[in-house]
Homo-oligomer: 339 residues x 2
DNA sequence: GTGAAAGCGCTAACAA
DNA sequence: TTGTTAGCGCTTTCAC
């Protein structure tokens, strides 16, 4: 059944010319008589010929594929970022191979391995929350495959990365909460293995500090960015002796979960508790009350990561050293926080 | 910088044996003296050798890659389905190459082309809403690359597919609304180019019909599955002369958008208007009021699509004819509908 | 402007 | 058990 695809040799035979000529005609790059090219393209179209990129990549030692490693498609940040990544890649003649790690270090390792075996030209990665060793990335970078980290990066790695200023965004958001009169602000943090989570936490504690507010250690509870973990953290916080009057959440999903819990126990948002998210997912303007949050340029983060990678791909001599692109954020005030 | 990766020839040279022996040792498949294999594996590990799968695929005429085409990662259904797809694929020794069409027919075409050039072993596809011609799928299937459709399928194609019974699920959901006392039920439908949307619409109209309820044509408004389109459709419906007392939505995102609009105009859910979604996204149990909806086994749909594809991959002789796997759904009643 | 030939890295007959 | 050899389909010198 499975009829074999045509090759340039088939075309050459049918047209009575050499396969080199066919190859040249197919990519308009070398000098080929227009008439010849015409004939080749016509037959190729007629037969539905498709260049075998496997062979071309093998021969050319270049696959025009960018490997992308993300924790999970189910995190809206990444499904949106993928839009920017795919767009930027395809605008530059590259294609994308995405893999999710499910937040597991071992899977991240396997994935890197798979992408290297597939001879991708470069790798974009957002670290799994379980990743605390970074040899695998250092190694592939040293071996000549450029790596760019985005969003979830490591400071232990001398690699280019694309991020936002998490600390600063956090600081601004918490200052706003304080100015609006909140005094017992709690934080649902992200996994502390991630710099991003650490920075958001630091912005939070520093804002309290500069306002002279006391920091209760049991007002910091860790989540893993999911709705469910947000609920659990909120339940814990809302049953503590000193009831918080504001929840600053590491991401919108966690904030959504927290809001559900606050409602469950019969408190009002924002009258009793202000809630602040982080990321500005589409749903944040839909939930009730609408969620105050920090907007990140997600698609741009994706696009930029691709651009930084392509820069290295195009100038192989340029050393792959640490070099952060920091994109801006914006505080979005909606209904879930007091005025 | 970019030092060339080691090849089996390099290993063979270093070990003083032939490249075939190295090749055999690397995949424990042929008879190789355990001692020899040991030596090969040891050196391979030491040098971080990675088989060039490009070359292996070219030679073996098999890539162990499944191409997946979806409309958009940003539709939660697909980001969840990808979990099932990747899991099932990797359990069977396959990898996945995902591409999104952005709902554009032309992109779908380009994507198929790209996947064919990459010599994927098979394709899983959920049609773009713009796709009304199906030659491209028929063609690749005829040429020996198995294709399985899932979720968004076409009836004009003689290909296997994995779906739910949209008509039946819709009928049940609307019957429930009617039994709960709703009399002026409106429907925010999906793009009518998709069978899935047609079936959900038909379930709706038939439920009204069997209950002897009148069907107002201006109580059917089309959306494109997005939050924003849900809002627009709801605005239109909620300003019609005959105000609906229930909204049956083609998907949860549309329902979320509709709920926001109903709140905006000061009506209560479900006292004034019941809202029913479709899919049971994680957010549906978080929004307020929580959303009544129809639960689909999303991950299983993904897994099953892979399994059906693998069946064809493993029995190339088996003809690729129409063959639907229909998975079950469940009506989930929460707070957004009257009792 | 076109053809001949070498070779990318691998696997699989076929020999030994 | 291992080696030799012939390609998989393509691109790219190097001739002509």
């Amino acid at each position: 059944m499975s009829q074999k695809p045509y090759t340039i040799i088939d075309l050459a035979r049918m047209l009575g010319m050499s396969k080199s000529t066919v190859s040249r005609a197919l990519r308009d790059q070398y000098d080929v008589k227009p008439e010849t090219r015409e004939k080749v393209l016509e037959l190729a179209k007629k037969l539905d010929f498709e260049t075998n990129t496997l062979a071309a990549s093998l021969r050319g030692n270049k696959s025009y594929i960018i490997g992308v490693i993300i924790p999970s498609f189910a995190i809206p940040f990444y499904s949106i970022a993928m839009g920017g990544i795919q767009a930027a890649a395809s605008e530059n003649g590259y294609n994308v191979m995405v893999c999710q790690t499910g937040e597991k270090y071992q899977t991240e390792l396997d994935t890197i391995n798979f992408l290297m075996k597939s001879r991708v030209d470069g790798i974009l990665i957002s670290l799994s929350k379980d990743t605390s060793i970074f040899d695998h990335l250092q190694r592939i970078s040293k071996r000549g495959t450029p790596v760019v980290m985005f969003n979830r990066v490591s400071e232990n790695l001398d690699l280019p990365n694309v991020v936002i200023d998490d600390y600063d965004a956090s600081l601004m958001a918490c200052r706003y909460l304080i100015e609006s009169g909140c005094r017992r602000i709690a934080h649902i943090s992200g996994p502390q293995s991630l710099i991003l989570s650490q920075n958001r936490l630091n912005g939070f504690t520093d804002a309290l500090y500069e306002a002279g507010l006391e920091l209760h250690m049991n007002h910091i509870v860790e989540s893993d960015f999911t709705l469910e973990s947000g609920k659990m953290a909120a339940r814990q916080l809302m049953s503590s002796a000193e009831l918080p009057d504001a929840l600053f959440c590491v991401c919108d999903a966690v904030a959504f979960g927290a809001m559900a819990v606050i409602r469950e126990i019969g408190l009002r948002i924002p009258e009793d508790v202000s809630v602040m998210g982080f990321t500005n997912e589409p749903m944040s303007s839909i939930v009730s009350p609408t969620l105050s949050t920090i907007s990140q340029p997600i698609e741009t983060i994706g696009r930029t990561a691709v651009e930084v990678l392509l820069e290295h791909l195009n100038n192989p001599k340029s050393p792959q050293n640490r070099h952060s692109v920091v994109l801006g954020t914006e505080l979005i005030i909606r209904e879930s926080t007091r005025k």
